[in-house]
């Protein structure tokens, strides 16, 4: 396999604000290859956004961040890079669809020129070509009247149009890696289908790598090749989309998938909760972080940190961090 376009190893991220410190990411490793889609799913607050954007230096204002481990892209180590170098590497290599559209778009500037500026700066287009590229991106994301919307301010667009403008913005610089943080939450099902098809098409044409952070398991099942399930800053399970979504092993993954509503089935799974609260990440305790909510927890779960262990998978190893299920169901895969 070719060298991954974005790879993170043994990443630890602590966040400090004046009042608290949080271990948001706790020894996580992942890699994304050109042309593939890696989905990151998991509980709200589990660290999905911080894990993918933290190494790129994209953290909210007012936070001090302590980042350890390694993160590599374009043959360079991002952790040791100066903020200025990091910012220029990011502009050329990474496109980011932010979870909150308003944080990426400047509310004082018209939509179109913001896109054109990206295309001009990072894809090296002339002003006229950049304008044409911006209009065509708006059109490709299914925004009606792209010529007219070019001259609109963000507040004049609906939530879903803003989200699509942001997708257009992230693609304007023709990135190698697209980080899509909840890219379709504000979109209706038909537009979502269209956007997912567009992402796949761009992926086929340009071979870009996509990190898809989402709560929408439907979107994962449409687009993802591989899946990482994050719980409280750690990887609970990972593997091919088929393996993880159809034969989950970790009790958290199983609970998560059991609460996914299936539009075409008559079980009311969308009202099924995982009891309990996620752990307090201001304190790092030994043991499995899901133990307090886990129906299968044993005494050892609270003292020993579970390691990711292979439970199968063909080309893509399927791994889970739960020795209990692996033992009880005889899942250990030793070849």
């Amino acid at each position: 396999m070719s060298e991954p376009v974005y790879a993170v190893e043994d990443l630890v991220i602590d966040l400090y604000t004046p009042s608290v410190s949080v271990r948001a990411v706790d020894r996580v490793s992942f890699a994304i290859n050109a042309g593939e889609t890696l989905a990151v799913v998991g509980e709200s607050g589990s660290g999905k956004t911080v894990m993918t954007l933290g190494p790129l230096g994209l953290m909210p204002e007012g936070v001090t961040i302590d980042l350890r481990g390694s993160a590599r892209a374009a043959g360079k180590d991002l952790v040791k890079m100066s903020p200025k170098k990091l910012s220029s590497l990011r502009g050329g290599q990474f496109g980011v669809i932010f979870q909150d559209p308003m944080s990426a778009l400047n509310p004082m500037l018209k939509i179109g020129p913001q896109l054109a500026e990206q295309a001009r700066r990072f894809a090296g287009l002339s002003p006229a070509a950049a304008r044409a590229a911006a209009v065509s991106l708006l059109a490709r994301t299914g925004i009606p009247d792209p010529e007219d919307r070019y001259d609109r301010y963000p507040h004049e667009l609906s939530g879903g149009m803003l989200q699509r403008a942001m997708i257009a913005l992230a693609l304007a610089a023709r990135p190698r890696v697209l980080i899509a943080d909840e890219p379709t939450t504000a979109l209706d099902a038909t537009v979502q289908a269209q956007i997912l098809a567009l992402l796949r098409q761009i992926q086929n044409e340009d071979g870009i790598a996509v990190a898809l952070i989402t709560h929408d398991i439907g979107a994962v099942s449409v687009l993802a090749d591989r899946v990482i399930v994050l719980y409280a800053g750690r990887i609970a399970e990972e593997g091919s989309a088929i393996d993880v979504l159809t034969s989950p092993v970790h009790p958290y993954t199983r609970g998560l998938l059991a609460s996914v509503p299936d539009f075409r089935s008559d079980t009311a799974s969308g009202t099924r909760e995982i009891p309990g609260l996620p752990p307090d990440q201001t304190r790092v305790l030994p043991g499995c972080r899901f133990a307090d909510r886990c129906p299968q927890a044993e005494a050892s779960c609270r003292t020993k940190r579970p390691v990711l262990t292979c439970v199968g998978g063909n080309e893509v190893p399927h791994r889970a961090a739960c020795p209990i299920v692996i033992r009880d169901e005889g899942l250990a895969d030793n070849d």
Partner: protein
């Protein structure tokens, strides 16, 4: 575990029929822009029953947010009337703005935009209580604690600023704030979109409980049709500023009659990649039309796979269809409807 199965009659059958909590008549909201008049909401009639859990769905940009904002008076209407809990909404707000705010609350699509950057979660949640002079400091603190519990947030978030919360945590803060004053009517614009499925289940169960125990009327604008199908008692489907179809949730989802509704439902992906690999959704051809210049006749006629000549000439009105609700399609009535 608040586990419930398909036979759980709770939310749907609870829609008490003691008259509408919200009545919207001939509502229009037009925006004047340099390119012309944007007809964001263009003649909407809507009745939300008392105690209902009413879902509003439809294409992105079809006017759902504008409609919801106009209902609560955050957006002025070009034409039409809104009555809430039997009173003219505009009169009510003029006569008693605070009283209105206690009864009717709105949750914004963009939680960050609706919170002050400098206020901690504690201040954000306490503010409505203070403004409305509810309880003393200790009682307010207690109430804030209860609100956090309701939305499953730990007390450790209290002294944090909105920016430092994850997307889903923020959304729950805005839900907690809307519930602070124990409103009777709650309108929420995409309140669940940033939540993971388990937290989302907690919130919809919370909504269902509030509706059940307190008779709260809830209107929810949502793109997640699977959740709307599971929890809502009634549904309105919008297309380009108009209502395309409406009805009780269960019969509507079993047999939608408007071709747009059918295309929308067919686009919902399956959570199983094996099913997804073989499923063929109905794809809509053509570009979505512009609210600057809506098509003549039926607004869906430019993309409708079963369009007939009449559709391009006469705008269909809502009329009764087989599922017991109403649909704005020339080809749908109580004797039958198109199937894509």
């Amino acid at each position: 575990m608040t586990d419930s199965d398909a036979s759980d009659p709770r939310p749907r059958d609870k829609a008490a029929n003691s008259g509408p909590a919200i009545e919207v008549e001939g509502l229009k909201v037009h925006f004047r822009t340099s390119a012309g008049l944007v007809r964001a909401v263009d003649g909407v009639d809507l009745a939300v029953q008392n105690g209902a859990f009413h879902g509003i769905v439809g294409e992105s940009g079809c006017g759902k947010t504008t409609l919801a904002r106009a209902i609560v008076g955050l957006q002025s209407a070009t034409a039409g009337h809104v009555r809430i809990l039997g009173r003219d909404r505009a009169d009510w707000q003029r006569a008693n703005r605070k009283g209105f705010a206690r009864s009717v609350q709105f949750i914004f699509q963009d939680p960050l935009g609706s919170m002050s950057r400098r206020q901690s979660v504690l201040q954000t949640l306490e503010e409505p209580l203070r403004i409305h002079g509810i309880g003393n400091a200790a009682a307010r603190r207690r109430k804030v604690g209860e609100l956090l519990d309701l939305v499953s947030l730990p007390a450790s978030v209290l002294d944090r600023l909105p920016r430092s919360l994850s997307g889903g945590q923020r959304q729950r803060v805005s839900i907690a704030r809307a519930l602070a004053l124990d409103p009777r009517v709650l309108l929420c614009d995409e309140p669940l979109s940033a939540l993971d499925v388990s937290v989302r289940a907690q919130i919809v169960n919370l909504f269902a409980r509030l509706q059940d125990q307190l008779g709260l009327t809830i209107v929810i604008v949502a793109h997640d049709l699977a959740i709307v199908r599971e929890v809502c008692s009634a549904v309105t489907v919008m297309y380009l500023g108009r209502v395309a179809e409406e009805g009780a949730a269960r019969p509507f989802f079993a047999d939608p009659t408007h071709p747009y509704s059918q295309a929308l439902l067919s686009a919902v992906p399956s959570p199983d990649p094996r099913v997804e690999a073989t499923r063929v959704p109905v794809l809509l051809e053509g570009d979505p039309p512009s609210p600057l210049n809506p098509p003549a006749g039926c607004r869906f006629s430019t993309r409708c796979p079963v369009v007939i000549e009449a559709c391009r000439v006469t705008e269909p009105q809502l009329r009764a269809v087989q599922h017991g609700g109403r649909s704005a399609c020339h080809l749908a009535d109580t004797s039958g409807h198109p199937i894509l």
